[in-house]
């Protein structure tokens, strides 16, 4: 509860603060301070100290899974602010508003991770999405940014409509006439038509939000068009929050009759894995490659939805940290590059050894090489999927796709270390020492989680 209230309040404070902040460099300190407060409050709530004890008519339910995810998301956002604070200032003039919008997104994230009623799910997803439409278009004078924003808004609004429709069907179809997901109790028998339609509509809408194929078409354009600092946020924390909502919804309300909708998820997972990975192979721009790679990683996260057991939940939390940290780190380096193509990375190992080294760790983690958090995350997902016991071929497909992903991630590593800098290209960029240390810190967390995944996973059973 504290994360929801505090991030909404802090968003408002940041919004009004825009009037009083004289210098563009001030808001980021306020934002970081606010985030630390919210993170502390959330951890306190996790350990049992409730600052706000509000009765929500059982529309919100704060269990370990949701609170733990909030901690993870807030921590990743903190890293994101620290790494990108100065780049957010460069996007445009309304600096404090950008931060305010991010806080509103966080409010949505916290709602989607702890909803217990379909209405709250809808609210959470909407609060999460609307500020993002604005952030995508925040580079006002850039045509690409405008286009991306409009595209995102139209598609997003459409999918929200579909979701609302699905919720309506579910409400009408269940015997109790309830919006609460733990009250659905749909049993294991054959589904009534209305419920079945509702489930399919919800799958479609949620797939859109987490950019699963075949509802992924907006992703590359939007991620590519949005200012890179905001792409970093959208592709990581927001996307992962979508997954948390997805699994929460499907496990609590439809978990008992998984066998009836599992095939649908299997198809979506397989398509996402294949399309994401195969398309990423052909990208020349690292930013676009990362956009497709986020689709590919979504495919792996969908395995949790396919498996739907305890290991899957542990894995999803681990995956959130591993994937978010690695991507945030990579995007933070990318923002500072002059040239976004893979050739632009040529010889970075010589000119900026620290950046190249940390980028290598991030890429190895995304590939899933042992000793990095990414490996453990993938391992948990595979374990969960095999525990489920059905559709063995999906697991094989997943590992083959992981191997394909090595191809495009390693292209960047090869460029950085094994190729000479191309002529005329310069790696002159602004790399202050704190930024370097922060990158090293992020990489260290990834390595630490590669050795001890229990540090994250065990908190679920706190």
């Amino acid at each position: 509860m504290s994360a929801i209230i505090l991030s909404a309040v802090w968003g408002v404070i940041m919004m009004f603060g825009g009037v009083f902040f004289k210098k563009a460099s001030v808001p980021k300190y306020w934002a970081i301070a606010g985030l630390i407060i919210i993170l502390t409050a959330n951890i306190l709530e996790f350990t049992g100290v409730k600052i706000f004890d509000i009765y929500s008519e059982n529309m919100l339910r704060f269990d370990n899974f949701g609170l733990h995810f909030n901690t993870v998301a807030l921590f990743c956002t903190l890293i994101y602010f620290l790494l990108n604070g100065r780049d957010i200032e460069k996007v445009g003039n309304h600096v404090s508003e950008y931060f305010a919008l991010i806080f509103f997104v966080l409010c949505g994230v916290a709602i989607s991770s702890s909803f217990n009623s379909l209405l709250m799910l809808f609210l959470g997803i909407e609060i999460m999405s609307i500020p993002l439409y604005i952030l995508t278009g925040s580079d006002k004078l850039n045509l690409k940014s405008n286009e991306a924003s409009l595209k995102y808004f139209l598609m997003g609004a459409f999918s929200t409509g579909i979701m609302l429709m699905g919720i309506a069907f579910l409400y009408g179809g269940n015997a109790l006439g309830s919006f609460n997901i733990d009250m659905m109790q749909l049993g294991q028998g054959a589904l009534p038509d209305m419920i079945a339609v509702g489930i399919v509509l919800l799958v479609v809408a949620m797939s859109f939000k987490v950019s699963a194929a075949p509802f992924h078409f907006w992703t590359p354009d939007v991620y590519d068009g949005a200012p890179t600092v905001f792409t970093s946020f959208m592709a990581t924390i927001v996307k992962v929050a979508g997954f948390i909502a997805f699994i929460r919804l499907f496990q609590s309300s439809f978990g008992t009759m998984q066998s009836q909708w599992q095939t649908l998820i299997v198809i979506i997972t397989a398509a996402t894995l294949l399309i994401g990975n195969l398309t990423a192979v052909f990208q020349q721009s690292v930013k676009r490659m990362l956009a497709y790679s986020s689709i590919a990683q979504a495919g792996f996260m969908l395995l949790a939805l396919f498996a739907l057991n305890d290991t899957a939940k542990e894995g999803l939390i681990l995956y959130s940290v591993a994937y978010s940290l690695a991507s945030i780190g990579l995007f933070a380096i990318l923002v500072r590059m002059n040239d976004y193509t893979i050739e632009g990375f040529n010889g970075l190992g010589k000119t900026h050894p620290v950046l190249a080294f940390t980028a290598t760790i991030f890429l190895l983690s995304l590939t899933g090489i042992p000793l990095t958090a990414g490996f453990n995350a993938k391992f948990y997902m595979l374990l969960a999927a095999l525990q489920n016991g059905h559709q063995f071929w999906l697991v094989i497909l997943a590992v083959i796709c992981a191997a394909i992903s090595a191809y495009y991630y390693f292209k960047v590593i090869q460029a950085m270390y094994f190729k000479e800098p191309s002529e005329g290209a310069s790696h002159q960029m602004d790399v202050p020492p704190p930024f370097k240390w922060l990158l090293i810190f992020t990489a260290a967390i990834i390595l630490l989680l590669g050795v001890m995944p229990g540090l994250v996973v065990d908190w679920l059973y706190y």
Binding site: L364, I369, F379, L382, Y417
Partner: protein, 494 residues
Amino acid sequence: MLGKYITFPELLLWFPIITGLLAFFIKDQKKVKAWALFSSLITLVISVVSLCYTDNTKYFSYNYVSYIWLQYLGSSFAVGLDGMGHMLTFLTAVSFPIIFAATYKNDYKNPNAFFGLMLLSQAGLMGVFVAIDALIFYFFWELALIPVYFLCSRWGGERRIAATWKFFIYTFVSSLLMLVGIIYVYLQTGPTQFSDHSFSIAAFYKANISLSDQTWLFWLFFIAFAVKMPVFPFHTWQPDTYEQSPAPATMVLSGIMVKMGVFAVIRWVLPVFPEAVLKFDNIVIGLAVAGMIYASCIAMVQNDLKRLVAYSSIAHIGLMCAAIFTINSTGMHGVMIQMLNHGINIIALWIVVDIVEKHTGVRKLSELGGLALHTPLLAIFFVIIALANIALPLTNAFVGEFAMFSGLYEYNPWFAALAGISIILAAVYTLNMVQKIFYGQDNILTKVVSLVTKKQKIVLTLIVLFIFVLGVYPKPVFDLTKDTVTTILSRFDK
């Protein structure tokens, strides 16, 4: 202290990791070389000391240790040394000082990174040989690959990026598939105190896997290991990679990494899937023998020195692979001793090849000749090593190959006869190579003053001694690995 706070496998694992990480901070070419040599010598000392405590009935606590790791998944950080583990860690420990000393003169760009990665690859290899938990084993199996990948792609020849990339993809895909296999077997194991299943090797040996599952699991595991060995038809990465890698990395690859595959089949395939092994043994032996003849034929027509040695290595490994699947004591003992012998011999061969290439600047057989006139000492060394390569009696390789052949003969005389052809071919291409490099007319390229360094002389002399000593008295190695052979074969007593 030993056995209570620290054990041999841990020492062998942590020491190269720590010295390797420290090596990254020593920027000076000379200092980092000395550091790497020093570190590898200490590792060798540890390994030699551990060989005095191989009796696991008495010194179990020196050689086995297990720490809680992922408790609720049933995986622990468990390492241990049995006879085969002792032998292969010794091979790893002895190879690195040899490699460092023999290539001491070579200079590298970014020497700190080079030697750091070399030592890390040593640690990775040690990890594979000591792991007795499937997840830990997989960890090190992949980790051993990463430093070698960087070594080859950064300091290799002209086509290095493409060549090592092929190598990387082959091994990465196959090991990911093996990971699926590992998880599947894990789900069939029995419960432990804290978890429903367990990754420990003992649980894997006890796992109750149906024959139909075994058949496909066998291939998932075997292909991952066959790529590393490499066994025909998974060998195509190997000649390119050996050719393009820097000399020390090639020695690591062919001397030790290849043994990872052989080792892993013995440790993780034979005891876990015994029924599938008995079902597919003739297919695997058929592939291995076909690969031997095929590789020998290609080696005969090779003009490139490095590729020739690479193909000859495929032929030798093919024999080991075939002998494993004979599932009899003779063949298995042959494999054990040959793992050690082949490791040392092939490294020696690469050392000579590297010297020849460094001095003449070419490695085309057709452009070489008459080197014996100018460097007689090198020629003597090379002839002895070459004779060991074709397993002449009195050399170490003879003992192993003889045992493997008699094992194969016990299994099926026809396979033994076919494999025998490759021995004749080996003599043809090896002697041909010796003749073309060292004898005949010298030319402008080969008129060089002998520049074999003192370190290289010492190393090669020691290797030659080793070749003869083990050729005459192989008993210590047989004794060392007897426990492993007995354990493995006991899985097949029905």
